[in-house]
């Protein structure tokens, strides 16, 4: 089970890095084609936006796993261990519930778009596919937050993964 989760985690991370890198390279090819071959990828801007939304939610979910989301941790880091554990547990439960709520309403929006049969302007892609990453990754974030709460309850605190820091702005 542990190996399966490890493998899924690796796939998740690889998908994220290759998505952003792939988008950048397609954008470069697009610029080249526009000037050198006089061909314009009309679908690229739209595809870029939707793939960007997918990658943002995927990365935000990994951010929960590695505790790389920005927070004001001045108070929490100076609190006594017992208070810190209680706060971590509370934050995990609260954020988990909020993400579950987001997943529920996101899913309703997906269903609504599916029923209406909305499609995007350039690619004619069903819009429910564009909305799908929100409920899916919100659900994964909820599960990750509940795991944080459970770990805090059992006395293990989540600390930011050092190698993910230092790139902001």
């Amino acid at each position: 089970m542990k190996r399966l989760f490890g493998l899924l985690g690796r796939i998740e991370e690889l998908t994220l890095s290759l998505t952003f890198l792939g988008l950048a390279l397609v954008a470069v090819i697009q610029v080249f084609c526009r000037y050198a071959l006089d061909i314009s990828f009309t679908w690229f801007e739209e595809a870029g936006r939707y793939v960007g939304i997918f990658a943002t939610f995927l990365g935000a979910s990994l951010g929960v796993k590695y505790a790389t989301h920005f927070s004001m941790d001045l108070l929490i880091s100076s609190a006594k261990p017992r208070v810190r554990r209680a706060l971590h547990c509370g934050i995990g439960l609260l954020c988990g519930c909020a993400m579950l709520d987001l997943a529920f309403y996101g899913f309703r929006l997906v269903v609504r778009n599916y029923n209406f049969g909305n499609t995007s302007a350039a690619m004619q892609m069903p819009m429910y596919i564009a909305y799908l990453p929100i409920p899916f990754f919100a659900l994964i974030m909820a599960l990750r937050f509940y795991r944080i709460a459970w770990s805090a309850l059992r006395g293990r605190l989540q600390t930011p993964k050092a190698d993910c820091g230092g790139q902001l702005s």
Partner: protein
Amino acid sequence: MMTTVAIGFAALMLAGVPLAFMLIIVTMIALQLFSFTPQQAVVEQLFNSLDSFVLLAIPFFVLAGSIMTKGAIAKRLIAFINSLVGWIPGGLGVSGVLACIFFAAISGSGPATVVAIGSIMIPALVEAGYHKRFAIGLITTSGSLGIVIPPSIPMILYCLVMNVSVAEMFMAGILPGLLIGLSLVIYTVLCARRHNWKIGERPSLAEVIRTGKEGFWAILLPVVVLGGIYSGVFTPTEAAAVSVGYALFVELFIYRECSLREIPEICRESSIMASCLLFLLAGAMTFNWLLTAEEIPAMVARFVMEHIHSPWLFLLAINLLLLILGCFMDSVSAVLILSPLFLDTLQGYHIDLVHFGIVMVLNIEFGMLTPPFGLNLFVSMGVTGEKLRTVVGGVLPLLAILLCCLLLVTYVPDISLLLPKLFLR
């Protein structure tokens, strides 16, 4: 409603709830308690906030910065600049500042600049006899120019929340960035003269040409990126993508100090960070949607204009507010949350949004250099292995220079607006 939102906001933030989630939770609670708008609107707002092509410039610039940091572009750049100015009094320090300015023009990130230039320049400065504190302080501060000199990630974030042109903001950052850079160069030369620090040997013309040839690909990048944007060849997002492609090409096929197998690992860290930043932006824009729907910016504008009669005093108050807030929260988040709140006030005072944006970016720069959220300080600690006290001690005298520049840019709008007025308006 405002009281509940404010209390919820403060309580969740102080408890350490991640800011992006805190903003989403507060919006959800406010909608549930005080509005007939369904919660589904939050999902739509999150989607709409991220549904923008300009936004992709952020992960692209973060990726490009991290590829260049791991590769050899910075090293070649430093060797060339050092051969040009290394022999004047304080020359090595001046090369450090100039290398930061140059790297800032290709990376868009302050911490990436500190890592790329600091890991090479700080040991070199200490070896040449510069005081350790001075060397760390100088490069940590100069590295923060990464967000003032275009391209700049916080500028793109500001443009998105305030609906300002990215090209104008980028151009407006050039003169303030050079002003700060010049002040740091003058300070370095004065310090070097006073302490009689060692002066390097003047290199031969052949040496300058050799390092110039080796650094050619690094020097060409800002010309390609900024030249491409202003000549209309590509959009800022495409420019960011081109800088990723260019950095990959140069590192993999020309300098060959990075292997293809390392690339996914390099991209992994930066992609997660960029996603967290984009998610924070989505949270902030959703929260701003709530504020606008409840007419809170208009209420803030009425309140501020009743109590503060001059725009200059308002700008001073904003600077003070951000300097104080910088002690409690990360300054990028503070600017993302606060700027739209003052949109109506800015229009009431006829303050140019681009000028205000540059003032905000300088405040973020200041925030990056002051504890407890000074990201550059922590990055510098990581690069040098020194304690926070040493890094802060080194940065402190240079903060006075930054403060003077901040006030100058705040009260002389033409420093930021001259170039956009001349070329873009």
